[in-house]
Protein backbone atom coordinates (compact mmCIF):
# COMPACT_ATOMS: atom_id res chain seq x y z
CA UNK A 1 0.00 0.00 0.00
CA UNK A 2 1.29 3.48 -0.84
CA UNK A 3 0.46 6.87 0.66
CA UNK A 4 -1.63 7.51 -2.45
CA UNK A 5 -3.82 4.49 -1.67
CA UNK A 6 -3.97 5.52 1.97
CA UNK A 7 -5.14 9.01 1.06
CA UNK A 8 -8.03 7.58 -0.98
CA UNK A 9 -8.94 4.94 1.58
CA UNK A 10 -9.22 7.46 4.43
CA UNK A 11 -10.33 10.50 2.36
CA UNK A 12 -7.39 12.45 3.76
CA UNK A 13 -6.57 16.03 2.90
CA UNK A 14 -2.94 16.47 1.82
CA UNK A 15 -1.47 19.69 3.24
CA UNK A 16 2.12 19.49 1.96
CA UNK A 17 3.11 20.22 -1.63
CA UNK A 18 5.69 18.35 -3.67
CA UNK A 19 6.13 15.51 -1.18
CA UNK A 20 6.45 11.91 -2.34
CA UNK A 21 3.16 9.95 -2.18
CA UNK A 22 4.57 6.83 -3.81
CA UNK A 23 6.20 5.82 -0.53
CA UNK A 24 5.13 2.47 0.84
CA UNK A 25 3.07 2.23 4.03
CA UNK A 26 3.83 -0.94 5.96
CA UNK A 27 2.05 -0.09 9.17
CA UNK A 28 0.83 2.62 11.46
CA UNK A 29 1.75 4.08 14.82
CA UNK A 30 -0.45 6.26 17.02
CA UNK A 31 0.85 8.35 19.92
CA UNK A 32 1.16 11.99 20.93
CA UNK A 33 4.29 11.55 23.03
CA UNK A 34 7.25 12.28 20.81
CA UNK A 35 9.82 10.25 22.76
CA UNK A 36 7.47 7.31 22.81
CA UNK A 37 7.16 7.48 19.03
CA UNK A 38 10.93 7.93 18.76
CA UNK A 39 11.50 4.73 20.72
CA UNK A 40 8.77 2.56 19.21
CA UNK A 41 7.73 3.55 15.68
CA UNK A 42 9.51 1.98 12.71
CA UNK A 43 10.51 2.96 9.21
CA UNK A 44 7.72 3.09 6.61
CA UNK A 45 4.97 3.41 9.18
CA UNK A 46 2.50 6.26 9.03
CA UNK A 47 2.18 8.24 12.26
CA UNK A 48 -1.22 9.30 13.56
CA UNK A 49 -1.15 12.14 16.08
CA UNK A 50 -2.84 15.32 17.25
CA UNK A 51 0.50 17.13 17.64
CA UNK A 52 1.07 19.60 14.81
CA UNK A 53 4.17 21.63 15.75
CA UNK A 54 7.35 21.47 13.62
CA UNK A 55 9.07 18.93 15.88
CA UNK A 56 6.83 16.15 14.54
CA UNK A 57 8.62 16.52 11.20
CA UNK A 58 12.02 16.03 12.83
CA UNK A 59 10.80 12.82 14.48
CA UNK A 60 9.32 11.50 11.22
CA UNK A 61 12.45 12.39 9.23
CA UNK A 62 14.82 10.81 11.74
CA UNK A 63 12.82 7.57 11.86
CA UNK A 64 12.14 7.38 8.13
CA UNK A 65 8.35 7.31 8.65
CA UNK A 66 6.38 7.38 5.41
CA UNK A 67 4.08 10.21 6.48
CA UNK A 68 2.05 11.88 9.22
CA UNK A 69 -1.72 12.05 9.67
CA UNK A 70 -2.81 14.90 11.92
CA UNK A 71 -6.15 13.76 13.29
CA UNK A 72 -9.27 15.35 14.79
CA UNK A 73 -9.13 18.32 12.40
CA UNK A 74 -6.32 19.96 14.40
CA UNK A 75 -4.89 23.07 12.69
CA UNK A 76 -1.42 22.48 11.32
CA UNK A 77 1.14 25.24 11.85
CA UNK A 78 2.54 26.90 8.71
CA UNK A 79 6.09 26.23 9.94
CA UNK A 80 5.34 22.53 10.24
CA UNK A 81 4.16 22.38 6.63
CA UNK A 82 7.17 24.31 5.38
CA UNK A 83 9.57 22.06 7.23
CA UNK A 84 7.76 18.93 6.04
CA UNK A 85 8.07 20.07 2.43
CA UNK A 86 11.79 20.62 2.91
CA UNK A 87 12.24 17.18 4.45
CA UNK A 88 9.89 15.47 1.99
CA UNK A 89 7.54 14.18 4.70
CA UNK A 90 3.90 14.18 3.50
CA UNK A 91 1.41 15.46 6.08
CA UNK A 92 -2.30 14.70 5.83
CA UNK A 93 -5.13 16.24 7.76
CA UNK A 94 -8.26 14.38 8.80
CA UNK A 95 -11.38 15.34 10.74
CA UNK A 96 -11.73 11.78 11.98
CA UNK A 97 -10.61 10.91 15.50
CA UNK A 98 -7.43 8.89 16.04
CA UNK A 99 -9.42 5.79 16.96
CA UNK A 100 -11.30 5.70 13.66
CA UNK A 101 -8.23 6.39 11.54
CA UNK A 102 -6.39 3.53 13.24
CA UNK A 103 -9.33 1.20 12.70
CA UNK A 104 -9.73 1.99 9.01
CA UNK A 105 -5.98 1.89 8.38
CA UNK A 106 -5.61 -1.42 10.20
CA UNK A 107 -8.32 -3.04 8.10
CA UNK A 108 -7.06 -1.53 4.85
CA UNK A 109 -3.53 -2.78 5.51
CA UNK A 110 -4.75 -6.27 6.43
CA UNK A 111 -6.75 -6.38 3.18
CA UNK A 112 -3.83 -5.21 1.06
CA UNK A 113 -1.56 -7.79 2.70
CA UNK A 114 -4.17 -10.49 2.05
CA UNK A 115 -4.07 -9.64 -1.63
CA UNK A 116 -0.34 -10.26 -1.94
Amino acid sequence: MTLNDLQKELSLKLVTRGTNLERPVEGGYASDLLSWVMGHASENQVWITIQSHPNIVAVAALLGLSGIIVAEGVDIEENTIKKAEEENIPIFSSDKPVYEICGILYNALSRSRGKC
Binding site: L34, S35, W36, M38, N55, A58, A61, L62, L63, E87
Partner: protein, 270 residues
Protein backbone atom coordinates in the same frame (compact mmCIF):
# COMPACT_ATOMS: atom_id res chain seq x y z
CA UNK B 1 25.71 31.73 -13.58
CA UNK B 2 26.39 29.19 -16.30
CA UNK B 3 29.36 26.86 -15.90
CA UNK B 4 30.58 28.25 -19.24
CA UNK B 5 30.85 31.73 -17.70
CA UNK B 6 32.84 30.30 -14.78
CA UNK B 7 35.18 28.64 -17.24
CA UNK B 8 35.75 32.01 -18.96
CA UNK B 9 36.29 33.94 -15.72
CA UNK B 10 38.84 31.43 -14.43
CA UNK B 11 40.37 30.91 -17.90
CA UNK B 12 39.83 27.26 -17.14
CA UNK B 13 40.44 24.19 -19.23
CA UNK B 14 37.67 21.56 -19.43
CA UNK B 15 38.99 18.12 -18.49
CA UNK B 16 35.65 16.34 -18.57
CA UNK B 17 32.32 17.62 -19.90
CA UNK B 18 30.78 18.71 -23.19
CA UNK B 19 28.96 21.82 -24.44
CA UNK B 20 25.74 20.75 -22.75
CA UNK B 21 27.45 20.31 -19.38
CA UNK B 22 28.70 23.89 -19.60
CA UNK B 23 25.09 25.11 -19.78
CA UNK B 24 24.47 23.98 -16.20
CA UNK B 25 23.30 26.77 -13.87
CA UNK B 26 25.54 27.32 -10.88
CA UNK B 27 24.31 29.41 -7.96
CA UNK B 28 26.93 28.81 -5.29
CA UNK B 29 30.48 27.61 -4.69
CA UNK B 30 32.55 25.85 -2.06
CA UNK B 31 36.32 26.19 -1.72
CA UNK B 32 37.81 23.46 0.46
CA UNK B 33 40.61 20.91 0.74
CA UNK B 34 39.21 18.89 3.63
CA UNK B 35 37.01 15.95 2.64
CA UNK B 36 34.91 16.31 5.77
CA UNK B 37 34.22 19.98 4.98
CA UNK B 38 33.19 19.06 1.48
CA UNK B 39 30.93 16.23 2.69
CA UNK B 40 29.28 18.53 5.17
CA UNK B 41 28.57 21.13 2.51
CA UNK B 42 24.83 21.32 1.93
CA UNK B 43 24.81 23.88 -0.86
CA UNK B 44 22.74 23.23 -3.95
CA UNK B 45 23.89 23.79 -7.57
CA UNK B 46 27.39 24.60 -6.37
CA UNK B 47 30.83 24.15 -7.89
CA UNK B 48 33.64 22.76 -5.78
CA UNK B 49 36.97 24.58 -5.94
CA UNK B 50 39.72 22.39 -4.58
CA UNK B 51 43.36 21.44 -4.79
CA UNK B 52 42.63 17.77 -4.09
CA UNK B 53 42.94 15.60 -7.19
CA UNK B 54 42.64 12.05 -5.89
CA UNK B 55 39.79 9.64 -6.63
CA UNK B 56 38.00 10.21 -3.33
CA UNK B 57 37.32 13.78 -4.31
CA UNK B 58 35.16 12.59 -7.22
CA UNK B 59 33.17 10.26 -4.94
CA UNK B 60 32.84 12.96 -2.30
CA UNK B 61 31.70 15.60 -4.78
CA UNK B 62 29.19 13.20 -6.37
CA UNK B 63 27.76 12.26 -2.99
CA UNK B 64 27.40 15.90 -2.01
CA UNK B 65 25.81 16.57 -5.40
CA UNK B 66 28.19 19.24 -6.65
CA UNK B 67 27.54 20.51 -10.18
CA UNK B 68 31.24 20.41 -11.10
CA UNK B 69 34.77 20.34 -9.69
CA UNK B 70 37.32 23.00 -10.53
CA UNK B 71 40.91 22.05 -9.74
CA UNK B 72 42.86 25.11 -8.67
CA UNK B 73 46.58 25.97 -8.54
CA UNK B 74 47.11 24.41 -11.98
CA UNK B 75 46.69 20.88 -10.62
CA UNK B 76 46.08 17.95 -12.91
CA UNK B 77 44.19 14.83 -11.80
CA UNK B 78 45.37 11.41 -12.95
CA UNK B 79 43.64 9.78 -15.90
CA UNK B 80 41.68 7.29 -13.76
CA UNK B 81 40.28 10.21 -11.75
CA UNK B 82 38.94 11.80 -14.95
CA UNK B 83 37.51 8.41 -15.97
CA UNK B 84 35.69 8.12 -12.63
CA UNK B 85 34.26 11.63 -13.11
CA UNK B 86 33.02 10.57 -16.55
CA UNK B 87 31.23 7.56 -15.03
CA UNK B 88 29.65 9.89 -12.46
CA UNK B 89 28.77 12.56 -15.06
CA UNK B 90 30.67 15.12 -13.05
CA UNK B 91 32.22 17.92 -15.15
CA UNK B 92 35.86 18.73 -14.32
CA UNK B 93 37.66 22.00 -14.96
CA UNK B 94 41.18 23.15 -14.21
CA UNK B 95 42.49 26.65 -13.60
CA UNK B 96 45.94 28.12 -13.00
CA UNK B 97 44.53 30.51 -10.39
CA UNK B 98 45.07 29.59 -6.74
CA UNK B 99 42.06 28.95 -4.50
CA UNK B 100 41.96 32.48 -3.04
CA UNK B 101 41.91 34.23 -6.39
CA UNK B 102 39.51 31.74 -7.95
CA UNK B 103 37.02 32.35 -5.13
CA UNK B 104 37.54 36.10 -5.32
CA UNK B 105 37.06 36.29 -9.09
CA UNK B 106 33.82 34.27 -8.98
CA UNK B 107 32.51 36.24 -6.01
CA UNK B 108 33.27 39.51 -7.79
CA UNK B 109 31.47 38.26 -10.89
CA UNK B 110 28.29 37.80 -8.84
CA UNK B 111 28.48 34.18 -7.67
CA UNK B 112 27.67 34.94 -4.04
CA UNK B 113 27.14 32.42 -1.28
CA UNK B 114 24.17 32.43 1.03
CA UNK B 115 25.95 31.65 4.29
CA UNK B 116 24.18 34.10 6.57
CA UNK B 117 20.77 33.41 5.12
CA UNK B 118 21.31 29.65 5.45
CA UNK B 119 22.99 29.77 8.83
CA UNK B 120 19.74 30.69 10.55
CA UNK B 121 17.86 27.90 8.83
CA UNK B 122 20.34 25.10 9.13
CA UNK B 123 21.28 25.18 12.80
CA UNK B 124 24.76 26.12 13.73
CA UNK B 125 27.59 23.78 13.07
CA UNK B 126 30.55 25.32 14.74
CA UNK B 127 33.41 22.96 14.28
CA UNK B 128 34.41 20.03 12.19
CA UNK B 129 37.71 18.29 12.16
CA UNK B 130 39.18 15.29 10.50
CA UNK B 131 41.70 13.54 12.68
CA UNK B 132 43.28 10.31 11.50
CA UNK B 133 40.18 8.36 10.48
CA UNK B 134 37.90 10.22 12.89
CA UNK B 135 35.39 12.80 11.79
CA UNK B 136 34.09 15.15 14.43
CA UNK B 137 30.95 17.22 14.09
CA UNK B 138 30.03 19.82 16.68
CA UNK B 139 26.73 21.68 16.95
CA UNK B 140 25.48 24.35 19.32
CA UNK B 141 22.07 23.80 20.85
CA UNK B 142 20.07 26.59 22.50
CA UNK B 143 17.87 25.91 25.51
CA UNK B 144 14.20 26.72 24.94
CA UNK B 145 14.54 27.04 21.16
CA UNK B 146 11.84 24.61 20.04
CA UNK B 147 11.84 25.97 16.47
CA UNK B 148 15.33 24.65 15.83
CA UNK B 149 15.11 21.63 18.12
CA UNK B 150 16.39 18.49 16.43
CA UNK B 151 18.40 20.30 13.76
CA UNK B 152 21.79 19.18 15.02
CA UNK B 153 20.71 15.54 14.87
CA UNK B 154 19.12 16.00 11.43
CA UNK B 155 22.31 17.57 10.08
CA UNK B 156 24.46 14.83 11.58
CA UNK B 157 22.15 12.15 10.18
CA UNK B 158 22.51 13.60 6.68
CA UNK B 159 26.27 13.36 6.98
CA UNK B 160 26.08 9.77 8.32
CA UNK B 161 23.90 8.92 5.35
CA UNK B 162 26.42 10.41 2.94
CA UNK B 163 29.15 8.41 4.63
CA UNK B 164 27.17 5.24 3.98
CA UNK B 165 26.74 4.26 7.66
CA UNK B 166 24.45 1.19 7.90
CA UNK B 167 20.75 2.05 8.44
CA UNK B 168 20.35 0.25 11.76
CA UNK B 169 23.29 2.07 13.38
CA UNK B 170 22.09 5.32 11.84
CA UNK B 171 18.66 4.81 13.38
CA UNK B 172 20.15 4.13 16.82
CA UNK B 173 22.39 7.20 16.64
CA UNK B 174 19.50 9.35 15.41
CA UNK B 175 17.16 8.33 18.22
CA UNK B 176 19.76 8.60 21.00
CA UNK B 177 21.09 11.93 19.71
CA UNK B 178 17.63 13.41 19.15
CA UNK B 179 16.61 12.64 22.73
CA UNK B 180 19.83 14.17 24.06
CA UNK B 181 19.35 17.26 21.92
CA UNK B 182 15.73 17.62 23.05
CA UNK B 183 16.83 17.33 26.68
CA UNK B 184 19.15 20.31 26.18
CA UNK B 185 16.33 22.28 24.54
CA UNK B 186 13.84 21.36 27.27
CA UNK B 187 15.97 21.57 30.40
CA UNK B 188 19.25 23.45 29.84
CA UNK B 189 20.33 27.00 29.01
CA UNK B 190 22.69 26.00 26.25
CA UNK B 191 24.73 23.04 25.16
CA UNK B 192 26.78 21.33 22.51
CA UNK B 193 26.43 18.09 20.60
CA UNK B 194 29.54 16.23 19.47
CA UNK B 195 29.47 13.41 16.94
CA UNK B 196 32.74 11.49 16.69
CA UNK B 197 32.56 9.17 13.72
CA UNK B 198 35.18 6.44 13.54
CA UNK B 199 35.41 3.32 11.38
CA UNK B 200 34.25 1.09 14.26
CA UNK B 201 31.80 3.20 16.27
CA UNK B 202 29.97 6.51 16.50
CA UNK B 203 30.21 8.45 19.73
CA UNK B 204 27.64 11.09 20.58
CA UNK B 205 28.34 13.49 23.44
CA UNK B 206 25.75 15.97 24.66
CA UNK B 207 27.06 18.56 27.11
CA UNK B 208 25.00 21.29 28.63
CA UNK B 209 25.04 24.19 31.02
CA UNK B 210 21.86 23.82 32.99
CA UNK B 211 20.24 22.87 36.27
CA UNK B 212 21.77 19.39 36.31
CA UNK B 213 20.03 16.24 37.54
CA UNK B 214 19.60 15.66 41.26
CA UNK B 215 18.87 11.96 41.25
CA UNK B 216 20.13 10.24 38.11
CA UNK B 217 18.73 6.85 39.07
CA UNK B 218 15.27 8.35 39.36
CA UNK B 219 15.67 10.29 36.12
CA UNK B 220 16.56 7.07 34.30
CA UNK B 221 13.19 5.51 35.16
CA UNK B 222 10.67 5.40 32.36
CA UNK B 223 7.91 7.92 32.93
CA UNK B 224 9.82 10.12 35.38
CA UNK B 225 9.93 13.69 34.14
CA UNK B 226 10.57 17.19 35.44
CA UNK B 227 9.50 18.89 32.20
CA UNK B 228 7.15 21.87 32.63
CA UNK B 229 3.52 21.62 31.55
CA UNK B 230 3.89 23.78 28.40
CA UNK B 231 6.57 21.38 27.16
CA UNK B 232 4.44 18.33 27.92
CA UNK B 233 1.63 19.79 25.86
CA UNK B 234 3.95 19.54 22.86
CA UNK B 235 4.27 15.83 23.52
CA UNK B 236 7.73 16.08 25.10
CA UNK B 237 8.68 15.36 28.66
CA UNK B 238 7.07 11.93 28.79
CA UNK B 239 9.98 10.62 30.82
CA UNK B 240 11.26 8.53 27.92
CA UNK B 241 14.26 10.64 26.91
CA UNK B 242 17.02 9.15 29.05
CA UNK B 243 15.61 5.58 28.84
CA UNK B 244 15.57 5.89 25.03
CA UNK B 245 19.16 7.15 24.99
CA UNK B 246 20.23 4.15 27.04
CA UNK B 247 18.14 1.68 25.07
CA UNK B 248 19.46 2.74 21.67
CA UNK B 249 23.16 3.05 22.53
CA UNK B 250 25.69 0.28 23.13
CA UNK B 251 27.51 2.25 25.82
CA UNK B 252 25.73 4.91 27.86
CA UNK B 253 27.31 7.19 30.45
CA UNK B 254 25.79 10.13 32.25
CA UNK B 255 27.32 12.57 34.72
CA UNK B 256 25.64 15.60 36.19
CA UNK B 257 26.41 18.36 38.65
CA UNK B 258 23.43 20.14 40.16
CA UNK B 259 23.50 23.82 39.28
CA UNK B 260 26.15 23.33 36.60
CA UNK B 261 25.09 20.92 33.92
CA UNK B 262 24.88 17.44 32.48
CA UNK B 263 27.04 15.39 30.16
CA UNK B 264 25.78 12.33 28.33
CA UNK B 265 28.07 10.06 26.33
CA UNK B 266 26.60 7.46 24.02
CA UNK B 267 28.36 5.01 21.80
CA UNK B 268 26.88 3.02 18.93
CA UNK B 269 29.03 0.25 17.46
CA UNK B 270 29.23 -0.11 13.69
Amino acid sequence: MKLRKIKEILRAEVLMGDDRDLEVDVTNACGADLISDILADMKKNAVLLTGLTHKQIIQTASMSEFAAIIFVRGKYPARDVIELARENHLPLLRTEYPLYESCGLLYEAGLRGDYYRKKGEMGEQIEEKQLSGVMRLVYKVSGGDFNNAGKATEQAKKILKQLGINPSAMRKVSIAAYEAEMNIVIHAYRGKMFFNITPSYIEVIAEDEGPGIEDIELAMQEGFSTAPERVRELGFGAGMGLPNMKKFSDVFEITSVVGKGTRVKMLVNL
